[in-house]
């Protein structure tokens, strides 16, 4: 897809998202506060009841900072739940326009998905700037370099999550109403990628499994890079693996779409 068209679509989608004021503030305040509140009370109780000061290598302040970061990163990595909408476009025939217009469908959808990130990006910088001062006992020391590495990781994480989502939503070519697959991806990736529990808190036996799956590259790696908890070499190695996963899922997504287009009815006969 031509960069100029790609950026045009990104800009258009971003403007559209910002025009939904109600949605912006609900996402910015309510969902962030709710998710953080749950994590805060849960881990306070766990630390209090266990009598430990460090769990999974993190103090309570570290844990809270991790959750702030992972909630904000997850918003960027996963993007808007309804932005991709590949399954619904196959289901209701919205795909037709992209088949008639001379544009690559997946490139166009990725641009739209990136465009929806603007509200979450504003939230990341707004909340992210405040929290390190509030959680003074944290051992994390974000620097300009770590923030830059984190932002690159988030961008790659977004593309990786996008192609995984597209592969699953492509099932809609053969089965109606596969929205639940998207929800399943959210839950599984959230659990095994470090949103619900930091990966270090999983039992040792689980660690090789978690390391072999792509989900850590979507949430846990960008957070650790952002908070200055990765060396440059470790970060670069993980980024390379994330890019390899992205390439693999892109190939699968293209195959799904090529095969699926034979089954596509354009809705209505």
């Amino acid at each position: 897809m031509r960069p100029r068209l790609f950026l045009h679509v990104v800009g258009l989608e971003a403007r559209k998202r910002l025009s939904y004021r109600f949605d912006f503030w609900i996402q910015a305040l309510v969902s962030f506060a709710a998710e953080l509140g749950i994590a805060w009370f849960l881990w306070q109780a766990i630390f209090h009841e266990s009598g430990k000061t460090v769990i999974g290598g993190r103090t309570l302040d570290d844990m809270v900072l991790y959750y702030v970061a992972v909630i904000l990163v997850a918003k960027l990595a996963r993007g808007n739940l309804f932005a991709v909408a590949v399954a619904s476009e196959i289901y209701d025939g919205g795909l037709n326009r992209y088949l008639v217009y001379p544009v690559p469908y997946l490139g166009f959808k990725l641009a739209q998905s990136l465009g929806t990130l603007l509200p979450a990006t504003i939230q990341l910088f707004a909340f992210g700037a405040i929290f390190p001062f509030l959680v003074k006992g944290s051992l994390a020391h974000p620097t300009a370099a770590s923030v830059a590495m984190g932002l690159v990781s988030i961008l790659v994480a977004h593309v990786l999550y996008f192609v995984m989502q597209v592969c699953l939503e492509g099932v809609a070519f053969w089965a109606d109403n596969v929205w639940s697959l998207n929800v399943a991806l959210r839950l599984v990736s959230g659990l095994l990628g470090g949103i619900m529990i930091p990966l270090a808190a999983f039992p040792d036996a689980w660690q090789p499994v978690l390391a072999a799956l792509p989900f850590r590259h979507v949430f846990s790696d960008p957070v650790e890079a952002l908070l200055g908890q990765r060396t440059f070499l470790a970060w670069a190695g993980d980024l390379g693996v994330a890019l390899a996963w992205t390439a693999a899922f892109t190939l699968v997504a293209r195959w799904v779409f090529r095969r699926g287009s034979y089954a596509y009815t354009g809705v209505g006969i």
Binding site: R4, L5, L12, N96, V100, Y264
Partner: protein, 330 residues
Amino acid sequence: MIEVEHLSKTFRVQKKQPGFVGSLKGLFRRETVEKHAVRDVSFRVDEGEIVGLVGANGAGKTTLVKMLTGIVHPTSGQARVLGFDPWERDDRFRHQIALIMGQKSQLWWDLPAADCFLLLQEIYRIPEADFRARLDELAETLGVKTLLTTPIRRLSLGERMKMELVAALLHAPRVLFLDEPTIGLDIGAQRAIREFLLAYRERHRPAMILTSHYMEDIERLCKRLLVIRDGQLVYDGPLEQIVQKYALHKVVTAHLRRDGVAVAVPSFDGLGEVIETTPDLVRVRVPRARTAEAAARLLEGLPVADLAIEEVDIGTIVQRIFDERSGTRP
């Protein structure tokens, strides 16, 4: 410009038994049936032609259009549009066609039309000067200049359809597919769109395939007709020819002056058949060739205030073709 040879499309459609038990069974096993949407269709369309594609609901019109625009792959057969296989979706092909679906917006629902058009300018790489000139001309002609900043979802159906037309024509396509472009529109909006399409055809000479249930669309816009039934092409030829073949009669209606005097309807034996008489009017069905004679007899024998001569509408003609093919014609 469009060459179609033995094109067929068969869909596999899942069937679900009715009721709660049927729904439960459907969770584990579903029966599928084959639906032959298009069967062995062949035709060609040349530059500047507007061809009407008519048929009942589910006859296969939309599927045929979807195949020719590359949305759907055919099961068998060939089609070349502007020298391309449509379903290969070559960008050079897609730059030269446009599709308007009356029942499905091709524009982005949340965006104002102006933003949609700017996006299309980028998609089709339309030079700025051409884009401005075409947008001005199209928006002016269709009377939508003041609506360009309104989100598509806030427009009326007629306004939206006009915006769809603008969007479809911005890149000056050489082939235009119009699938029910006037569906649901009021009479005025239908007429405006018909007149616009005629004028556009005169100026730019694109090939157009038009499907419509409104026979006035077909009569006003198309000189040639493709009639499709159960996926099969049952007629391909001039509109005039089927009118001659299947509309053997015309109906002449005389509206009478009401001056309180009872009148006797003249005899039409050997000329035609009186099909309705009231104190206000007399309607007579006569062979096409003897229409003038029948009108003269009505004028001579009755206090005629107004006289109307009606063609059999094209919908009736299409139904007669169907009846003839299925052997049910009386």
